[in-house]
């Protein structure tokens, strides 16, 4: 019997070629993931000798829900959008993080003062980047629209508009284009009339919209002429301009910005190690590396490290023109507006 057990054990070991991981970190991949690997994962591995499996996911909380419900936790640390963080935390998929253990900034500022306000607003996460949904124009045929109102003006600016197929951001922009002040947008959207008004405004450009499903499609649409102007995550357009010399320009008017945070999966056996990673990854220098993909660091001390030439391309330089995405609003209305949005699409 003992022999059999040894045999089984040997088989089990040889059958799993992956080396046991000390920590599984999950994020969004692409250029963003590469920047995180370079500035956060690799230095942490070098310093602590921890094995890290760095995985990609597409956002949302479905996979976390599945892992916690099944009691089979595979991820330890996860990069999550604040818009999802609100729900993931309240539904018990994430550990509460003791924010007092976060290290001071490299210039000596205590963590509580060094992080920008929204970065520590939720007890389950530590802010990682500020990113933004902007619109970008292909400047080959002239400068194009410069404001959200002009983005909705199909007479002055004909051509296709690429928008991501979901209510988020589109509803906000429709109201702003209709003359609503940025600070009133979410209050108005909570009412039936406000929602109807947003759909009416979207109706005026419906024929000219090209819908897409993932951020990666936005620069492609702009590049191949599928759209004259697109909604996009700012980093994607930045990369297209920077790396491929694409003739795009970013318009910051009424951009909708949000944070990504690092969070820890509820019930992970590696909680201490996960916390150690987050403490490391949100120090001043690793955070400042996020400028590679034009996302703003969430520490003031990290912003100070950035060269002036880069700062203008980061959402953090344009916060006063922007609107903070309201995670609480979307937790309330994400599902009902999602249904209404799909109904509107079918009309």
């Amino acid at each position: 019997m003992k022999k059999h057990l040894t045999l089984l054990a040997t088989l089990a070991l040889t059958a799993s070629p992956v080396v046991a991981q000390d920590l599984t970190v999950t994020s969004f991949g692409g250029a963003y993931g590469a920047a995180q690997k370079e500035h956060m994962i690799d230095p942490f591995v070098a310093e602590t000798g921890t094995n890290i499996l760095f995985e990609d996911y597409g956002g949302g909380i479905a996979e976390m829900k599945a892992q916690v419900e099944a009691g089979n936790i595979q991820w330890d640390v996860v990069d999550i959008e604040v818009i999802d963080l609100e729900r993931a935390c309240a539904e018990g998929y994430l550990e509460v993080i003791d924010q007092s253990t976060l290290p001071d900034g490299d210039d000596g500022t205590p963590a509580a003062d060094d992080f920008i306000e929204d970065a520590l607003a939720n007890e389950c996460g530590v802010g990682n980047i500020v990113w933004s949904v902007v619109f970008a124009v292909n400047t080959e045929n002239g400068p194009g629209p410069q404001t959200i109102a002009e983005f909705f003006d199909t007479e002055a600016f004909p051509g296709k508009r690429g928008l991501r197929k979901r209510p988020q951001v589109n509803m906000e922009w429709a109201l702003i284009a209709d003359g609503v002040a940025r600070e009133d947008v979410y209050d108005l959207l909570s009412t039936e009339e406000g929602q109807a008004r947003a759909f009416e405004k979207l109706d005026t450009i419906k024929e000219d919209i090209v819908w897409y499903d993932s951020w990666s499609q936005a620069p492609v649409l702009l590049n191949d002429g599928g759209a004259q102007m697109v909604q996009s995550a700012n980093g994607r357009i930045f990369a297209a301009i920077q790396d491929d010399g694409a003739p795009f320009s970013i318009v910051w008017d009424s951009h909708v910005y949000d944070l990504d945070v690092w969070a820890i999966m509820k019930g992970t056996p590696n909680k201490d190690k996960a916390m150690e990673f987050i403490q490391f990854a949100t120090r001043t220098v690793p955070l400042s590396g996020m400028q590679d993909v034009a996302y703003g660091p969430t520490r003031r001390s990290a912003q100070a490290l950035l060269p002036e030439s880069v700062k203008q391309d980061l959402p953090t330089a344009h916060l006063e023109e922007g609107l903070k995405a309201d995670g609480i609003f979307w937790a309330d209305f994400g599902e009902s507006l999602g249904e209404k949005f799909n109904e509107w699409l079918l009309q």
Partner: protein
């Protein structure tokens, strides 16, 4: 041979019976792995899904005492103080266990906008003393948010508190149960339209694969072995390339400045690029391409088995070729056609990736909205109900098909 020829003596009969049992057992053992696989990979998930679509104990587990206290509530005014105090103490407990978010999600489904009300109320009650709640729970609750005075809020809680509920199925067909128990149309009308659209698109795709696939299979069945095998490679080629590659290839072909538009513009047929990608048209074209092998393979297999001398005999007896095909060949190839049509139709009804990538606005199918509820709204119960309804719809169509054509008439070769 002196004994009666047709009688086995009891010992032989027993042996024979034992032998039969042994063979049966052997046969059974051979299929055991498959059986286990089917149970785990197919039966269990589908049963779980069906069950989830009617069974949701989340709220009942979170606030059982509040729900019990609500039993006596008239439904027309704010519930009385005992209910409010009970709920306030439940809220405090949930705020400390971090389960208030689950309640928020469930109530929000019945009454959009409640998620933040539940969460903020839970936050404000988290650190209140138990004795304080027992004394002033009702006013604390109403202070935290005045929506707790609204009967609609409590109707939402009560309906979310049902462990077994048909509400997800009602939602799947755009209906809802009002507070007085009557069933009415929902404000948002979407799912029935999507089911109809899905079935319509699946039908168009099936017809297109028949139009394209039947002549090809016919030609291959008449051709020499060498030529038929050579053509077969082209039919099978799509099978060997990844689905994503094939779909992406269609994006490259159909996009605004893609191959099709530039060619048409170069030869002067059009002067403005046509909008081809992200439409219903592109979904249908790409899916027809991807599903064509499922039509050609059964058709070809059946046609190969049809003796060609039948056609020759009919023609030699004076039938026109088309007439001979219609009266001889078509009925004989019908089993393959049925199999192919059924395969293509059923696969396309549940298709997800291609509509998501090339479908844009018009190309959405029911599977895309199921994915929305799985991944974004996290309403797995509704996703399960929508999926179950799709399953029922397919079974219904299969039954209809069986009545009209006969399931015996399906042949894959």
């Amino acid at each position: 041979m002196t004994t009666a020829p047709h009688r086995l003596d009891p010992a032989d009969a027993r042996n024979a019976a034992r032998e039969v049992r042994k063979r049966r057992l052997q046969a059974f053992l051979f299929v055991v792995p498959l059986l286990i696989f089917i149970v785990f990979a197919f039966v269990a998930p589908i049963t779980t899904m069906l069950f989830r679509s009617v069974h949701n104990p989340t709220v009942a587990n979170l606030v059982p005492d509040t729900l019990a206290a609500l039993d006596d509530w008239s439904g027309e005014t704010t519930p009385d103080e005992t209910v409010l105090i009970q709920f306030a103490s439940d809220m405090k407990r949930m705020a400390n266990d971090r389960t208030s978010g689950q309640l928020a999600d469930e109530i929000n489904r019945a009454l959009p906008g409640m998620s933040s009300v539940v969460k903020s109320t839970a936050r404000s009650l988290r650190r209140v003393e138990d004795t304080e709640i027992a004394a002033n729970g009702a006013s604390l609750l109403l202070e935290a948010n005045d929506r707790w005075a609204d009967p609609a809020t409590w109707h939402a809680l009560r309906s979310a508190g049902q462990v077994y509920s048909s509400s997800y199925y009602l939602t799947s067909v755009d209906l809802e149960r009002k507070a007085d128990g009557s069933i009415a149309q929902r404000d948002t009308q979407i799912y029935v339209k999507l089911y109809i659209k899905t079935l319509r698109m699946a039908l168009i795709i099936t017809v297109l694969t028949i139009v394209l696939g039947y002549p090809l299979a016919f030609f291959m069945a008449q051709a020499s072995d060498g030529l038929a095998n050579f053509l077969m490679v082209f039919v099978l080629l799509p099978f060997w390339t990844s689905l994503l590659v094939r779909t992406t290839a269609w994006i490259a072909l159909l996009q605004t400045n893609g191959v099709v538009n530039s060619t048409l513009m170069a030869i002067g047929v059009i002067d403005q690029p046509l909008e081809l990608l992200y439409t219903e048209f592109s979904t249908i074209i790409a899916m027809t391409h991807i599903l064509l092998p499922f039509m050609v393979l059964p058709l070809y297999a059946v046609m190969r088995g049809i003796d060609q001398s039948f056609m020759r005999a009919a023609i030699s007896m004076g039938s026109r070729p088309l007439g001979a095909w219609y009266r001889i060949f078509l009925p004989m190839s019908l089993p393959g056609l049925s199999a192919g049509a059924l395969l293509v139709f059923i696969i396309s009804v549940g298709y997800y990736i291609t509509p998501a990538l090339v479908g844009g606005t018009d190309g959405q199918m029911i599977s895309n909205i199921i994915a929305f509820h799985m991944q974004q709204s996290n309403n797995w119960e509704l996703a399960a109900a929508l999926g179950s309804l799709l399953l029922v719809l397919i079974l219904l169509l299969y039954w209809l098909f069986d009545r009209l054509v006969g399931a015996d008439n399906i042949k894959l070769g």
